[in-house]
């Protein structure tokens, strides 16, 4: 292996950085990545990844509405114009770099878009109780062999993905009953397999899943993530988009 690394120094640097093991033998996902990308299916009229409607379970009869039409109120129709968070999973699928930091007890996911940060305990703890629902939910992780499984619950009702760029008149929503399950493992030397299950019994008749790929980008490590402070020069404060 060392001889091969001398010949293919660049490739091996990526391998060493992105496929190392933790001291306890678990995969080490620390590194810099692209956002999750679908291998096909429905594409957004944007660079973000969106879910493929062909994979959705049927909508639950009498359930909460999946689509949320615009109502003319800018705060309702485009909350991100007011620096409201993208939430999970939408923010995770936004077209920006991500950096993961892993210890024995935590995986920290930092997304460049809105500096979304998810702190995922890996120490076997249960979900927190008696806390308010949130945009990013309450995640806990555990290992199933070399696959990290992250279960997230306790969401606010919020946009599911960036579908509204495809159809600017409405959002695809998830409910406050959403539970997501992520399965993360190395697929090859520079790619993570990222399987995301949407279990939302108020909207769908069954849970459904989509498989994504996450490309390791060790060449982005030197620059690192760039700052993203939405409030810095936002032009839509106070309910109305403004010019200069």
């Amino acid at each position: 292996m060392k001889k091969l690394c001398l010949v293919f120094a660049v490739a091996c640097a990526g391998f060493a950085q992105n496929q190392g093991k933790m001291p306890d033998g678990k995969p080490n996902f620390s590194g810099t990545y692209e956002w999750p990308k679908a291998m096909g299916g429905e594409q957004c009229r944007c660079s973000a990844t969106i879910f493929d409607r062909k994979l959705f379970a049927p909508l639950k009869p009498g359930g909460e509405p999946f689509f949320e039409p615009h109502n003319g109120d800018p705060r309702h129709d485009e909350p991100r114009d007011f620096c409201m968070p993208a939430g999970f999973p939408s923010g995770m699928l936004s077209a920006n770099a991500m950096q993961f930091f892993q210890t024995k007890d935590y995986l920290i996911m930092v997304h460049e878009f809105q500096r979304m940060t998810r702190v995922i305990p890996l120490d076997g703890r249960k979900h927190r109780e008696d806390i308010e629902p949130s945009f990013y939910g309450d995640p806990v992780g555990h290992w199933e062999g070399d696959t990290l499984v992250i279960e997230t619950t306790n969401f606010k009702r919020w946009g599911l993905d960036d579908y509204f760029y495809t159809d600017p008149n409405q959002y695809r929503m998830h409910s406050d009953a959403l539970k997501t399950i992520e399965h993360i493992r190395w697929k090859d030397q520079k790619t993570l397999s990222y399987n995301l299950t949407i279990d939302d019994p108020k909207i769908f008749t069954a849970a459904w899943s989509q498989e994504f790929s996450i490309a390791a980008k060790p060449e982005w490590d030197a620059a690192g993530l760039y700052e993203y402070v939405c409030e810095e020069n936002n032009r839509c404060p106070g309910g109305k988009c403004q010019g200069k």
């Binding site: 991100r80 114009d81 770099a97 760039y226 700052e227 020069n233 032009r235 988009c241 200069k244």
Partner: protein, 137 residues
């Protein structure tokens, strides 16, 4: 040597639009039926989140100079494409393509910037659009 200013406001509706992305709603702020292409001198650059803004003095056909504001991508998005702040500086002559603001102000998204030597950079946010890319619907 400064090039003569040109100004053109193209009102043709585009049948095809590209797919790009940003934090704001492109559809809410910009009018895809009003593509613009203007040439002028950069007067100010705000290299800030969530979108860069740069301002260009554009001389109209009547000789009147109007200062236009253009919104681009987030600094981080642009830097990851290799577009750093010094690429667009005050005093530069640039041609900017984008779509005019819906509110009728002298603002537009600045999707593509072309310099006098022919170099062109894609400055839009990743959910914004540029005229004539032929992507999307």
């Amino acid at each position: 040597m400064r090039r003569p200013f040109t100004f053109s406001l193209l009102l043709a509706t585009l049948a095809t639009l590209p797919t790009l992305q940003a934090h704001h709603s492109f559809a809410a702020e910009f009018d895809t039926s009003k593509p613009v292409k203007m040439t002028g001198v950069v007067t100010k650059v705000e290299w800030q989140n969530p979108h860069i803004w740069f301002y260009v003095d554009v001389k109209g056909d009547d000789g009147k100079v109007t200062n236009w504001g253009f919104s681009g991508g987030a600094p981080g998005q642009l830097m990851r494409r290799g577009i750093v702040k010094k690429v667009i500086q005050e005093g530069m002559t640039v041609t900017v393509e984008g779509f005019r603001s819906k509110d009728g102000s002298n603002n537009a998204n600045g999707a593509r910037v072309t310099f006098p030597d022919g170099r062109s950079v894609f400055t839009a946010g990743s959910e914004d659009r540029a005229p004539g890319d032929g992507k999307g619907k």
